[in-house]
Each structure stands twice: as C-alpha cells, then as structure tokens.
C-alpha cells in the first residue's frame, strides 16, 4: 500500500497523542518515536491534524515538476476556492492558476457534475443499496480493510479529481496535438488521502495524474499573482454551483437524484454508519455520502481555513454561479470511463494468521494476556489500548515488559512485597477508597 503520510522523526517526541486518535489503530510509539503500521494506515490525515509537534507530514509534489511537461493542467478541488478572504469570483482563482505556471485548468467541480449525472443515469450495474459514495479515498481504504462485505455498495470507484484528470488530458491532447504523456496533469487536493490516490488510485487500473499539490501550498503561491490579475479580462471558466458544493458535507448527496440520502462526515461517524449497514440496520436511504473529514473536504488536513468559515465563503461564491454548468462531455464518454474502473480488493490487514487454527491460538493468547492488563489505555506502552498491546505482544511487535504495570509487578516482587505505588506516577497509584486497589488482577501474588 502506498502512503502520503510520513513522520518527521526529528519533530516527533513520542507523546502518544496520535496513537489514540488513529481510527484504524495504525500507529505505535517505539523507542520514543511514532511509527506507522503501513497495512493499517488509510491516509485519512487525522494524525496530521492532532499532532501537537507537527511531526506528521505529507509527501507531495514540487512545483519544479511542471518543467517536465510541454503543457500543464491544474485540476483544483473546489475546497481551494474557500480558502481566500474577500474573494467574490471563482474565476480569479482559476485565472491565478494560469499565471503560476499552468496552461489550463480543469475543475474537479465540473467533473463532479458529470459524475453525478452519469451515476444517476446508470442502471443495472449491480451496485447494492444503499449506494455508497466513491469520492473519499480514505473511506474507500477503510472499507477495503474493515468492511469488505460492503464493497459491492460502491460502484464505480472513481473520484471527481480522477475523472477530471482523465477528461482534461484528453481535451488538451485533442486541442494541442501533443501526445498524452507530454501533458502534465496535476491535482490540487485538500487532504492526504487524495495525495495518496493521485499516486495510487483505489479504483483505477493505472495512475491518471502526474502529481498532486496541497491546497495550502498552492494557496500561498496564488496570493500575490491573484492580486495582479487584470480583473476586467478574466477568462470565464467556473463550473456550476452543484459541482462546487462537493467540497462540503452534503453537497454530493444534494447533487444526486436520490432524495432519500444521508450525508455522513467525520471518520468516526463514517465507521459507525458502516457498522450499522453491516448489522443489517439499513437506513431507509438510497444513497449515503461518506467523508472522512469533518464538514467534508473543507475539513481536509491540507487546507488553510477552518471548515466552518470555509463553508460560509463557498456558499457565498456559489450564489454567483449557475446551478449546473452546461455539459462539456457527453454522458457516454463518462460512462465508458466508469466502466473502466476496477473493484478495490479486500485487504485482510487485521487477520492474525492466514491459517485459522493458528489465528485462533493467537487470539486465545491475546485474550489471556489482555485479562492481565489494567485496561487503562494509558498509552505508556506505545499502543492505543491494552487489547492492541496484547495483540502486539502475541504478534511479536512488542514485549510484555513494555507495559508499565507489568514492570511494576516485577518490581513489587523484587522489592519483597513492599508497596509498589511509589514506583508509579500519580495518576496510576491506587485509590485510597479502593479496597482491591482499583488495579488490575495482575497484582495478585502468583
């Protein structure tokens, strides 16, 4: 699995903040530094947002890459437009992109409108109800590792950014006569999951973009050039309001035909709703929009503005747009592209062993060890919970001695039954009202 989330070990202080917020329990602290279990990371960017030391970084393209191509196209996510203060026309941003090195712009918002139109008119492709949104790569990865039985509810797996990139390259190749590989197509994205998708798309057979930039980097590069534009001679390029609305939670659902929909944002809310669908608690909804970030893509970890202010701004910008831009590609062309998508595969990353008998032995060992642990989720061992720690020990990723309570048990033994409370930091000492110590069964003498 490819990732765009990486750790800066110089900045990481091993504070354990990230391990507890990771929705897939993919981070451990080892020797004072966080490490990522690559098979579990879905690149949702939660750790990027919570790290108090800015030690979690994203791997993204550099602007010098534009020099490699004859002709460069920017594919901006509509969340970009919401970052600017006092902006009243999206065309200013799009023309600004033309002045920082891009030869053309193809909006993700325009592709979003085509995608919604095409999905609404597809019939009989076997997608199960409720249909799940294909637009958030972090959610798709989550489903691949944790909810494989729901993969049949998403089809096809393509994001508006990816569709925009494919169409942009075709249009530019036709218009300029250049071969497709002489054309550079770069997405401008709000989050780490879209950075990863640019390099390794979940539902496409091959990469369709040449690189991806973070909104916050492009924002800085655009500030001055946007001020210097000739405002009376802007090239009109903006998509319709429906496509732009995909940047915030609920926008995609609104632009679809199904009126019985729910829009879910925030990775923990997404997990909850997927659990419900798995349990057979099918909400009455025909369509479910899912976004890993709070407030949707506006809440992405690579944006500048807080998602709430950004949403207000985007709504203001949408008021000046036509509801949907006139179609630039016909439905059949888009439908052919959708037919080309592949089904993402189940990644059994949580499986303890490929042999079930051995997996069961390991689980018994985990259960046994977990019973002896305090259940405090203190994080001192570097794992997010005692259960995760027990699993790490059994799987050979940690030693039992990494648990401060296990060490205490040994100290107590060595010190000859004296009270071991003095070895422990205050929060972990025994409560005076608690006759049994309020501490784990591991303390009974054996």
């Amino acid at each position: 699995m490819r990732h765009s989330v990486s750790l800066n070990l110089k900045k990481c202080r091993g504070c354990t903040t990230c391990i507890k917020s990771c929705p897939t329990e993919a981070i451990r602290v080892r020797s004072g530094k966080a490490t990522i279990l690559p098979n579990r990371c879905i690149d949702c960017g939660t750790c990027v947002q919570v790290c108090p030391h800015q030690a979690v970084q994203s791997v993204r393209s550099d602007f010098y890459m534009l020099k490699r191509f004859q002709y460069n196209i920017a594919v901006p996510d509509p969340a970009l437009y919401a970052q600017f203060h006092h902006l009243d026309d999206i065309n200013i941003v799009l023309n600004g992109l033309l002045s920082i090195g891009f030869d053309d712009v193809y909006e993700s918002a325009a592709a979003a409108e085509l995608l919604a139109d095409c999905l609404d008119h597809r019939t009989g492709d076997g997608t199960l109800k409720p249909e799940l949104s294909p637009a958030c790569p972090a959610v798709i990865r989550l489903i691949c590792i944790r909810f494989p039985d729901l993969l049949g509810h998403i089809a096809p797996v393509i994001t508006p950014l990816e569709l925009a990139a494919i169409l942009a390259r075709r249009r530019a190749s036709e218009a300029t006569g250049l071969s497709p590989d002489e054309i550079g197509v770069f997405t401008i994205v709000p989050c780490t999951s879209q950075l990863t998708a640019a390099a390794a798309p979940e539902g496409l057979k091959r990469q369709v973009v040449d690189g991806a930039f973070a909104i916050r980097d492009v924002y800085l590069a655009l500030l001055d050039p946007m001020r210097q534009l000739d405002m009376d001679n802007l090239k009109p390029m903006a998509a319709g309001a429906a496509g732009v609305s995909w940047a915030f939670a609920g926008g995609e659902a609104l632009s679809r035909r199904d009126k019985n929909y729910i829009a879910v944002d925030g990775i923990n809310n997404v997990i909850r709703i997927l659990e419900e669908i798995e349990d057979g608690r099918m909400p009455e909804a025909d369509f479910i929009e899912l976004r890993a970030c709070t407030q949707g893509c506006l809440g992405g970890c690579l944006t500048v503005e807080n998602p709430f202010t950004a949403k207000m701004r985007l709504k203001g910008l949408m008021a000046n747009l036509s509801p949907v831009r006139p179609r630039t590609a016909d439905r059949e062309e888009v439908s052919d592209i959708l037919d080309y998508t592949k089904k993402p595969e189940f990644l059994p990353t949580f499986q303890l062993d490929s042999n079930r008998r051995r997996a069961m032995e390991k689980m018994r060992a985990i259960q046994k060890l977990e019973e002896q642990l305090p259940g405090l989720r203190c994080g001192s061992c570097g794992a997010p919970s005692c259960r995760a720690f027990a699993e790490d020990v059994v799987m050979g990723r940690a030693s039992e001695d990494d648990c401060i309570f296990k060490v205490r048990e040994r100290m107590q033994h060595m010190a000859g039954r004296t009270d071991a409370d003095e070895y422990l930091p205050a929060p972990f000492r025994r409560h005076q009202d608690d006759a049994c110590g309020g501490l784990p069964p591991l303390l009974d003498d054996r």
Binding site: E276, E278, F350, L352, R357
Partner: protein, 141 residues
C-alpha cells in the same frame, strides 16, 4: 472445547443507544480470525437482532459467541418474561413491542425471522416467567 474461542458480552436492558456494541466487538474478533466477510456479516446481523431483542423485551441478558473451526455459535440468554407462543413469534411482522419502542423504528416483528434467515440453525427455548435462550449456528464453509 479446545479449538474454540469464546467471547461473552453483557447486554444492558432498556438501553438502545448502546445496542450494537456486542455485535461490533464480535465482528472485530472474527475479522482477526480471518473469517469470510459474508460469514462475518451474517453473524453480525444475527447478533444485532438478538441484542435488540434482549434490550427491548428481556431487560438485557448475556450474549455468548463460540467460534470453532467449522462454525460460529451464538447463544443469547435472558431472564426476561419468556415467549408464550414461539411459532407466532417466528412469524414475520408479529410483534409485542410497545408503541414507544416502535416509534423509534424498532420492534417491527422481524427480529426472530431475520435471525432464522441469516443463521444455518436456530433453536429457541423459552419458559414464561423464567426466560429465553436463543441458539444460532452460522457455518463457516
């Protein structure tokens, strides 16, 4: 049984907001054991429906899940009011749930029929005034 993993959960009565937690825990365990996703889904539907039944009708109870090499056995035990007519309770749409529960979208009379549909074997033993034990088997292959 040596070749068996046992998971047990206490299900609190009257607390619909936590219903589904036992099912969630079982799913995580089964994923770790590498069971087929479709088997996990069937077990989760059986567990969830059973959990809801115990919450609504029986003031809670115990859910025990035994995972063997060939099958998953779910045993739900409660000390609730018991089911006077099991055949009737098995009919789709038959319900004794209070209106207050039905207003929340539960108690549609599909609990036991769904559990039967998603399991390979199901037995219901019930004594009025004593309690109910529902046993479901989902085969792995």
């Amino acid at each position: 049984m040596d070749d068996c993993i046992t998971l047990t959960y206490q299900v609190e009565g009257g607390d619909l907001s936590h219903a589904g937690e036992a099912s969630s825990g079982v799913k995580q365990a089964l994923r770790k054991l590498g069971l087929d996703p479709s088997v996990i889904r069937r077990v989760s539907v059986c567990m969830y429906e059973g959990e809801i039944n115990m919450v609504i009708h029986a003031n809670g109870g115990t859910a025990r899940v035994d995972v063997g090499l060939d099958d998953v056995t779910i045993t739900l035990t409660d000390t609730g009011p018991g089911i006077p007519d099991i055949d009737k309770a098995m009919q789709a749409g038959f319900t004794t749930a209070a209106d207050s529960v039905r207003d929340l979208g539960f108690g549609a009379g599909m609990g036991l029929p769904n559990m039967k549909k998603y399991s390979d074997e199901m037995t219901v033993e019930s004594t009025v005034g004593v309690g109910t034990t529902v046993t479901m088997v989902v085969r792995i292959e």
